[in-house]
Amino acid sequence: MTTRKNKDDRIALLQGTLDLLILKTLVLGPCHGQGVARSIQRQSEEVFFVDHGSLYLALQRLEDKKWIRANWGVSENNRKARFYSLTPKGREHLVEKTSEWRRLARAMGLILDSSIGPSGEEA
């Protein structure tokens, strides 16, 4: 991965999360790759830095899995671009993964927020 932490507060994406973010972005409607990248960066309040090379490979991977489909079209400023849209299968997967991440995040939060230090060995 060429993703690196910038000198600012941007965070390299965890593996597996990029797919989820792409799917989430496409819920709003068909979008081209550059638009997806911008949208992720903007919506995460510029915390996530999207490596574009990885982004396009991820798009390809999702397309291979039939979670999204792609068609060449014309952008609002009249440029030729490849537009991605969510398939029903992709939508299903997104719902499933979202709830999983919510639970994971909550659990992480609970542990990290508790005042006790790292948990001991006792069961």
Partner: protein, 887 residues
């Protein structure tokens, strides 16, 4: 297709579009044209690297994944070689046994004759043969006139093909100076062309060859390989058959071993008409060969249905000609005589195979099926319990975004890896096992696994692979992603479900094991009974071989055997020598009704009048060691000019001459004008086979009857019986350089052949029973060990609060004893059914043999205890403190 093929150009185009869109956006945010372009490029990163990655990914993504899964699978195997070895060996044994037995079944029962269009081929059958005829098989052999009449009909049966062995065992052949034995048939000129069997070399026979009785031979590919090392120079060589020179003109196609059940024919010659080459090697009857003798029904017939003709049509068309031809040379049928009725049966398989091997093979298949079931469930359990410990790994991967599909693919790859290793071993195992089976069953035709067997094995393998992928997959995903976050106590929820399945499987395995053990017990006890059955004489030092001298007259034949016996008697180590027409323990016998004092004896209602007879030489009973109860044995002074004498057994005397002195009475076969006076009564002894019950027997003196031909020589020697053979062979060669010793073996071995099927059956049952026991033991051990592992904490608590070692051990043992009890309760009714099905294969044992059941139950109980002893011991040595700290 799993992913769309997308060109790299398209991808490059998309990146270009991206850079332009990004530059547009940046420009709108206030950057200059140049700045926007370079920033867009910088933000994107390395464009060519992205392209390269796309290229590689698009092309190799599946291979890459497969390799990754394989590497991972191999790593797992290396991490736990004991587990892998257990799984692979279990599979190899379970599947190997199945492949081997299926291979035999395929060769014997399923495979069709290797001929063109076998569906159109039929065997000719008759309901019976006319009165006054002799047959080889009362429904499957025909006279030459019948064959001749049917082949001339030629409408609905386009070809009628006759074939007949030159001997019931093997015939004497010679290439150079040394005589040897081989399996040969006389056949129609249309044999090869009618069957559609191609020749690998040379030419086959023509109708002309049959008409001219051409002295030519075609040898089988198998024989060509075995005897001549596939030497092409064999064509044109002279093959002496019973001393008659024939020229080898062809080699049959590979895989064609003739149409005789259980035999692999070495060579074929056209139908002959001469004394040395009579059908079945029989001596001439009144100077007539099988061709001139309409009362000897000895030819087997095959037909090929004409295009469009059905079996029913063919029978309807041929019936009249058949019935007319059946009486050629026999006079008119007597009033009330049942006329023979022709019928046709499919010739897809080999005749007689099904009757002889069908039942035992199906039983064996069922047995190995059970073994496979045990083996597969074992592996499933092993995989499930191992993968339960990998639960966290799976949960973690699910949490990190791995799809269920990917997880399944990974598990499938792992199982495929194990299954294919097991499969390869199984195949090797099967190849050797079929050779052993062929030897035991005395089937000479090839039993080696073929393509059908390969498909069968691959089918089982594929099923196993999916099963082994799916079973642990259920466990793997049961935890879900959340489990990754939970401490280990959460696993106990899952553990309950998993061990319930495991326990059910073990109980079922126990049940199957009981069934197999009871079956094995019954068969082994049958075998012991057969082996310990007294023959009525001692086989120690007895050796037997057959000779087929070229005999032109009775005095010459008698002189030959007299000279032979006197020369053999003086060999060092020889105690006594005699001859007999039918070999003891070969299953063959000559049966007929017999007159006693000129009339058919009175017998109680329903009792058979059938008498078995044999033609024997001087000192016959002395050589065998059969006690002569009254009168005397045959001697050298019983000859053609002295009064005809006969000897009977106790059973004969008891049934036909009750309460009187049998000596001096005259007896003789009903259909043959020959009378002899009883001069001796001998003790009943086994004649055809070990399992037979005594029936009335009578013996003729060979030097007194008007017919003579092949004989078996019986010798009693000191020391190893087979060691006498080389010097005996020398004696025979001095008398006739064309004579090999045919089927030389000890008399003991000859009798054991009559129980070879039971022998094979019992040995295999023993093997499969043991295999089942071992498999069940490993399965139980796996489950118990896993349970103990899971309950380490619980055991720790119990011990911490004062449980003693004994109590802990008992807790574990109780578990497996309970499973055993359930298994036994389930297994016994099943075993009863199996015992019922086995009834006809048993000898001296009832299907409800208490001993067999007891041993089976004791067996599984011992196995259960042994398999749980180690886990129980481990449980008892758990240190409470460590146990509580675990995880």
């Amino acid at each position: 297709m799993f992913h769309r093929k997308r060109s790299t150009e398209d991808f490059v185009e998309e990146i270009k579009a991206h850079l332009e869109l990004e530059a547009d956006d940046l420009k709108r945010e206030g950057l200059s044209e140049d700045e926007a372009r370079s920033k867009a490029r910088r933000e994107f990163g390395n464009v060519s690297v992205a392209q390269e990655r796309f290229y590689i990914k698009g092309r190799w993504v599946w291979l890459d994944k497969l390799l990754r899964d394989l590497r991972f699978g191999l790593r797992l195997i290396r991490q736990n070689p004991g587990f892998a070895a257990t799984v692979i060996l279990t599979l190899a044994l379970g599947m190997g046994a199945n492949t081997a037995v299926f291979s035999v079944m395929n060769a014997v029962l399923l495979r069709s004759l290797p001929v063109t269009d076998p569906q159109r081929l039929v065997y000719l059958r008759t309901s019976n043969s006319p009165r006054g005829t002799g047959t080889i098989d009362s429904t499957a052999t025909f006279s030459y006139p019948v064959y001749d009449a049917l082949r001339r009909q030629g409408r609905s049966l386009s070809r009628v093909i006759a074939y007949v062995p030159l001997s019931s065992f093997k015939v004497a052949v010679r290439y150079g100076t040394e005589p040897e034995e081989a399996d040969g048939d006389m056949v129609s000129g249309a044999f090869f062309s009618g069957l559609g069997v191609k020749l690998a070399r040379g030419r086959s026979f023509s109708e002309q060859d049959e008409t001219n009785h051409a002295p030519i031979a075609v040898i089988s590919y198998n024989y060509w390989t075995r005897r001549f090392g596939r030497n092409p120079d064999v064509l044109g060589k002279t093959l002496y058959v019973n001393g008659v020179p024939t020229t080898i003109v062809g080699v049959s196609a590979e895989g064609f071993e003739g149409v005789e059940a259980g035999r692999s024919t070495d060579f074929w010659i056209p139908l002959q008409s001469r004394a040395e080459l009579n059908a079945w090697g029989n001596p001439l009857e009144n100077g007539k060969t099988y061709i001139d003798n309409p009362s000897w029904w000895c030819l087997r017939l095959l037909g090929r249905l004409a295009p469009g003709a059905s079996k029913v049509q063919a029978v309807a068309q041929l019936q009249f000609s058949f019935q007319r031809a059946a009486y050629i040379g026999l006079g008119n049928p007597q009033s009330g005589e049942r006329k023979p009725i022709l019928s046709l049966v499919d010739a897809k398989g080999f005749p007689g195979y099904d009757a002889e091997y069908g039942k035992p093979l199906r039983m064996l298949m069922a047995m190995v099926g059970l073994v496979l079931l045990i083996a597969l469930s074992n592996v499933v359990m092993l995989l499930m319990s191992r993968n339960a410990t990998r639960q966290r790994e799976f949960s973690m991967r699910l949490a990190l975004g791995a799809g269920r599909g990917e997880l399944f693919r990974q598990l499938l790859t792992e199982s495929l890896l194990l299954v294919s290793m097991g499969g390869i071993l199984a195949w090797v195992f099967a190849v050797y096992a079929t050779r052993a089976l062929a030897a035991w069953a005395q089937i000479q035709s090839s039993l080696a696994p073929d393509r059908t067997v390969l498909l069968f094995t691959l089918g089982v393998l594929a099923f196993a692979a999916v099963l082994f992928g799916l079973a642990p997959f259920r466990v793997a995903i049961a935890g879900g992603a959340e489990l990754a976050m939970k401490p280990s106590t959460a696993m106990s929820r899952l553990d309950a479900g998993m061990t319930r399945t495991g326990k059910t499987i073990v109980a079922l395995q126990m049940a199957l094991c009981v069934v197999l053990l009871v079956g094995a017990g019954l068969l082994i006890r049958t075998l012991r009974n057969l082996e310990n059955t007294p023959l009525g004489f001692s086989t120690k030092g007895l050796v037997v071989f057959e000779l087929k001298p070229h005999v032109t007259s009775v005095p010459q034949g008698v002189a030959f055997y007299q000279e032979l016996m006197s020369k053999l008697r003086i060999l060092p180590g020889v105690e006594s020598v005699t001859v007999m027409e039918e070999r003891l323990g070969s299953g063959a016998s000559d049966n007929s009704d017999m007159n006693v004092d000129g009339k058919l004896p009175d017998v109680a209602n329903g009792t058979s009048r059938t008498v078995r007879s044999n033609v024997v030489g001087p000192n016959f009973f002395h050589t065998l060691g059969v006690p002569v109860l009254q009168g005397r044995d045959f001697t050298d002074s019983d000859n053609a000019t002295s009064p005809h004498v006969g000897i009977i057994n106790e059973e004969f005397a008891k049934r036909f001459l009750p309460n009187q002195n049998p000596l001096g009475h005259s007896i003789g076969p009903v259909h043959f004008p020959y009378q002899m006076t009883i001069v001796g009564v001998v003790k009943d002894h086994k004649y055809r086979s070990i399992a037979e019950t005594p029936i009335p027997m009578a013996w003729y003196m060979y030097a007194q009857i008007p017919i003579i031909g092949q004989m078996n020589v019986e010798m009693r020697v000191h020391g190893d019986p087979l060691a006498i053979l080389p010097s005996a062979r020398k004696v025979v060669l001095q008398l006739d350089p064309n004579l090999p010793l045919i089927q030389p073996m000890t008399q003991r071995a000859q009798f054991e052949q009559t129980i070879s099927q039971q022998l094979m059956f019992a040995r295999l049952a023993e093997f499969f029973g043991l295999l089942a026991i071992v498999l069940v033991a490993t399965g139980l051990y796996g489950t118990m060990a896993y349970r103990v592992n899971m309950r380490t904490a619980e055991i720790g608590v119990r011990m911490a609060v004062g449980a003693r070692r004994g109590q802990v051990v008992w807790m574990i043992l109780k578990d497996s004893l309970l499973l055993t009890a359930v298994g036994v309760v389930l297994g016994i009714p099943l075993a009863l059914m199996v015992g019922e099905a086995l009834t006809s294969s048993l000898y001296g044992v009832k299907p409800l043999d208490g001993m067999s059941y007891l041993l089976a139950v004791v067996g599984v109980t011992l196995v259960a205890l042994a398999a749980s002893a180690v886990p129980a011991g481990r449980a008892a040595s758990v240190d409470p403190m460590t146990a509580l700290h675990t995880d």
